[in-house]
Symmetry: D3
Subunit: 319 residues, 6 copies
């Protein structure tokens, strides 16, 4: 069982920066339930760029997070063994080469039934992440928090990939099942603001206005009903949050969500069957107060908590 090395006797500010002071393990993957993995790749970014420093920043700001989540009454490491796996090797400037490398490096993680917790990086890393997931699980259900649907269609054949179109490509490739998937939080004035391309692909889509009108508990019921017991690929773009909560990102959109709302939403979907997670688009050079990274770390903590909660319920059912 791997768990954070810092105890209350060791100050939070002390030590080599792994996520939540987890042990840095790359060779021994037995008995590991989740692996936090950095993917410092940002060549898919369309506007501000620099999320290659996101994994480092999130690790730095995760120092004070401990394993107990009182709102869910769960101690994560009572039910799960987790590691920091370090960063994947990527090739800045080379998109396809990097996607191949990411997929290849993630494949053994999925094979060992480890849940990857990816620290982006730009959102396009979800594409190779999904490719690796689908090799294990077949087409997965997407639960997607974001200000953008990322289902844009490139009109230039020389520019196939970007962080704006991977969720249309994923449907094209058959690695996401849009009919059990849901996208939430879309807003702004950019490409695809009316969300037609997502709807045509089969996704359920809720704009920011749609989400704001729903009580959080109803929103979460909608998500849980949509995905059922299918394997869920959970992806969280920090620009889902309002720009004041996530200034450190490349394509902020005014008028988003508070972290309190986001935390309630994550907690509210406890019970779904998460097989992979990534949190993307943290851009430290635009995160002067480090709050984007702090909030990204906290979202991961909530996700780990609901995965552990599900395990704890399964354990108690077995007893």
């Amino acid at each position: 069982m791997y768990k954070p090395q810092a105890t209350y006797k060791v100050p939070g500010f002390s030590g080599i920066r792994t996520f939540m002071h987890l042990p840095y393990i790359t060779n021994d993957l037995e008995n590991v339930d989740f692996a936090v993995i950095g993917v410092p790749f940002d060549t898919g970014a369309s506007h501000a760029v620099g999320t290659r420093f996101g994994p480092s920043a999130i690790r730095e700001m995760s120092q004070r997070i401990r394993g107990v989540n009182p709102a869910l009454d769960i101690d994560i490491f009572e039910f799960m063994s987790g590691i920091d796996y370090g960063d994947l090797l990527v090739h800045p400037g080379y998109i396809e080469y990097s996607y191949e490398a990411i997929e290849e490096q993630l494949t053994p993680i999925f094979e060992k039934n480890i849940i990857p917790i990816l620290l982006g990086g730009d959102h396009s890393i979800s594409l190779p992440h999904l490719r690796a997931a689908a090799k294990k699980y077949g087409p997965v259900s997407l639960v997607h928090f974001d200000a953008h649907s990322d289902t844009w269609r490139s009109s230039d054949p020389r520019k196939k990939y970007s962080h704006g179109n991977m969720f249309s490509l994923a449907v094209d490739e058959g690695i996401v099942d849009p009919y059990s998937s849901i996208q939430m939080g879309m807003r702004g004035s950019g490409p695809n603001p009316n969300l037609e391309s997502s709807i045509e692909l089969g996704y359920e889509v809720l704009s920011t206005d749609d989400v704001k009108k729903l009580p959080i508990i109803e929103l979460c019921e909608k998500v849980k009903n949509r995905v059922g017991t299918k394997p869920v690929f959970l992806t969280f773009d920090v620009d889902f949050l309002d720009p004041i909560y996530a200034p450190g990102t490349g394509t902020p959109e005014a008028g988003g969500f508070t972290t309190y709302e986001a935390i309630q939403m994550i907690r509210g979907i406890a019970g779904i069957n998460i097989i992979g997670f990534d949190i993307v688009e943290t851009l430290p050079d635009r995160d002067q107060t480090n709050l984007t990274a702090l909030h990204a770390a906290n979202i991961i903590f909530q996700v780990l908590s609901i995965i552990a909660k599900k395990k704890s319920l399964e354990v108690s059912l077995q007893l």
Copy 2:
């Protein structure tokens, strides 16, 4: 028809910084519906100063805004032709000289039925803006979003003008009709906190507490009823927003509004007859994350959207 020069083929970060990539036009004002105009004047500021750099900052942060507003189901440039007119010539350090210059330069804009979209600058630029407007329209109705009523009375005859008293002067000069005008969002501890001077002048005034108690839809009805079909001068001081949404301003007041609320309010007053607009008090040197400028640009986008929406309805009525 003038419209943004950047299409989705041109990256948002590319090109000379005009507002929303609009063409920079100063000589050909035919067939122009609105003109974005910088007024880099800040000598009227009473506390922190530097809004002379506001126009440049707002243009910089408007890059990613495109013309489609899904919430209102409108494509701005389907119904309007717009330009960036550059900046007016002002005289830093010289208030009266600058007011004369601003009024003189805005007069031909109003004469051509172009709606000026002014980028401040300190809020006192509304006075020459109103003077030019009234030459065309007579006394106008003020719709005013701000943390301060700006109806202070100077007690020193050698200091006639500041950004704290132009809306009492405007009533004195007969260029604003207070009885069809409304001020919203006042709070804080500064001069005139109890708002007597505004009420005496004839304005309707809603403090922040008053506004927070009203559902936004009711607030918007109140505004629309107050102004009716009269020509409306819309003015938005970024300190209406909570300081965390608009840190880059000179007189922030704790406990204000979210951008989501402000956006809903602007959308909710669609239908009023806007003849001039200014957004003021963006102070880039205190806007470390550039979010104040981002939010100012977004508010302008919402205002342009409701103007276009009104046009679209008029067009459909004509059909």
Copy 3:
């Protein structure tokens, strides 16, 4: 009667930085109702450190605050005389020595029936503050806004004191009466997240989730009922606020309160018998936009307003 020296004729940005432009008085304490006092001590900090610069930052950001609070319809200095007493002498690096010095310097303040308004410094300064208060008043009732309960128990006898355990020590020392005390806003994943230690001590404790579920008016009634007419020691840790409102602090916890909410809560408990107040954990080096200090200054303004409000009601009762 001491009151702010700046009038509307003197610009807010002008002058030596005392809190709200109050006179800087250290020798003549007759006829003083409250004294703003800096305590630049931070050796008790467990994570980020540097609140020794908090008093200076709060004074700097208090410049624009005037004495009138329209929401409570009160002019503070009509009912109270106040001073800025400067900073207490502390000994950085030496906890016990500093606590002794703080207690000793505060004792004559309490003896003269002056309400100390302390500018922290780390939260552990509440311990000597309470010791001095209890010498005058006996065990006091704690009203405590914070993300952390600070009732942790040190397991290492060589590390008795920190900013995480003074409210358990205060009960041990008999200087706080937990059964008429309340703690509000607890959240996060750190030590004592489930708040057992507070509950065992006798405190009433409301987590952030508990508070969010209550209408503010009900929360305030609960506080007022809990403390009754007993002497109240009010303590406000800026991390009660969401990190976006208080980035400049050492142990921020995602998902907190807005300043608007906090202001409403302070106003809502008007009537309680405040005998001492401190606002702590403002860390200027992490407060790039100075908003934490601005908000701390505003919270103090609200607290002074409710103290004055109580006085004004007492005065009117006497008439």
Copy 4:
């Protein structure tokens, strides 16, 4: 005798912010040798603006400066009594009104033979400063460190004053004697780069290139020869320094001087008869690291040191 109140027993970071912890005195000016006085005026600024916050920033960054200057082997307060006089009342937005007020408030300082040490504010405050000085001393000799000669001629009669022309106006007004004056450090591409207007007025002018070619000791001899024993008005614009040493200023010019060079120059002119001094153009909103203010405070320390050094020599001559 007034001297800094903090001793080594009081931490530098503690206390109300006066310059170097000097006592804040406004009413008792007997036995005062120098008075540090803030002039928070910036309406004369032609480009970036905000030096009204300069006095506060310089005071903040002067905290760690003590009275001993080992390089000159002098303890300032052994030979001089000094105070912090607070800030002058100015009228933001109103140039002539402010100049009148500044002159009037400085006149009694000069009358009492106190040397004013002014903290700017924009450089145009030197004009009323000189007017007050000349009332006491007649035309004075200017020793001027700056990247700009500030002898521009306004071509617009409605804009008589700015921070770019006060040293031509001062000659016009007969309050500076240009033939015993010297300007050093001019560079850049702005108005008057070839310095003709200064030369025509009678000033000796040394460009940055001229200064860099001279050994510092020779430069200082040149200055001392130029001014002889005449009353000297010393003025230091922080943009004399290279922008990396003084980023917080409104019109930085690449390729300037290090602080080490500037310190050597000040020390090197010890012996001149300084009757007034101002250090100007510190703009805190562009001084993210506070180094401009730190350096301004240090330059003042060097100036105080050479004034004290002269006094110490006079004292020893008398013995």
Copy 5:
């Protein structure tokens, strides 16, 4: 004749941001001597990334630069006509596609004998810049200021291009003549620190230590002798400067040059036959004080000055 539109009557802070207030011209290239052109491309960056915002930042910080260079006694626009051409269309994330686009767009500039003044972007834009230059001039002489030689050899055939190897590729392609070229300022510990690959290619290479040992006048003679009258491609990576002068860059190396030194070096090579220039690697997100952009703008000003100086001498020779 095109020249800056702002005169001393227009404040430097006013107007749409073109370089030095030059007219923004894209269609009429007759009688143009130089064109300032942004190349917002950064996909070649190996470490920190974001120079796509470099052109905008340099334009912003060029506002106060006027046309007169007193050190060279030249008024640029007396001898040259210049424009701001805006930005080239590039394809973020796609290196080869972007290089083709850049080359194609620059070709007509060279054909019209216009000197391109490129604002990077990462340094790899020099490769398509050189390709376009060589179509006009054949192999050119490189004069290269940089902390890195950028003659690294990629060992991975899937990663042919980066900002670390374009000057070896340029020799391979025959578009640079290394034997009349010189590289200056190399330092650090990265790939190729001993500079073997440059020397093997035929370049003359001077490390930072080599340069520091030479008087600037000798260094400039060495450069002028090396290139003679051949067409010179001048390229300036801002990391040639010490990191304190250019913090806003992706691969800073401690221990570099001051801007004063760099300015002297540029002035000292006046007389060489510059046919193209680029200044690269300005990364605004890491340039908190904007000094990197200010310095980049100043270096361009010096380069324009020496080009104009050469023209002025040719004109006077003709008379």
Copy 6:
């Protein structure tokens, strides 16, 4: 042999942050020549505080440093095996407890003949570092780069320790031999500016002015002669550098050294027998551009280079 794990195939920005990508090893100390060790302790700080985050910041900024130092023609890892040992356990707020812990944890490092490379932390960590060193080597020779001599004498028996007096305590304790020790770079106005206490203790002391007057090569000879072949404890306070090179520190003193000068000085003392090294006082919260940490990392690189150079010469002598 341990050496950096990143090769040129792995981007510098990738991976868990150890110093220079060295392996993170805590259990196997055989065949280790040097160990980089963080000491996140800052309770000894007298002014600004927060160097507990220094180790993390230095590691972050060391990413791009590779093992080859061309100026010394040395490849560090050809001659040395090095690790990152992580951070020592310290007790924030408790000075003596922490010193005991530091000494105890360093003792086995010295016992294994490993050279500790300590990342501070405030400068007072040198005291337990010296205590551990002296247990192995007896009294050592101090080579000390700093703006302060740190030989102040505490006059308060309750405050025995601070970062201002450890080098007088070290002489008192007999763990430093002052007569073979040297202190360089002292300046400022603080306690002990005339350096009497150091001289009395037996140290050789060179003020900043003394150092600036010496050619670097002579300075280095002086150091080498002073220490001879004795075991040298090298300590580098980043405030030795000018504040513009090291803004991120707690007690900056204007008028210091460039990094270029510091690098030359380190290289120049190659050959001395370094048995321990610490670099202290990096305060990330005041290091907005991260240059202090970058420069600290580079100084370490130079120190490692001269240690390796000495080894290489010893190896070649043996051959």
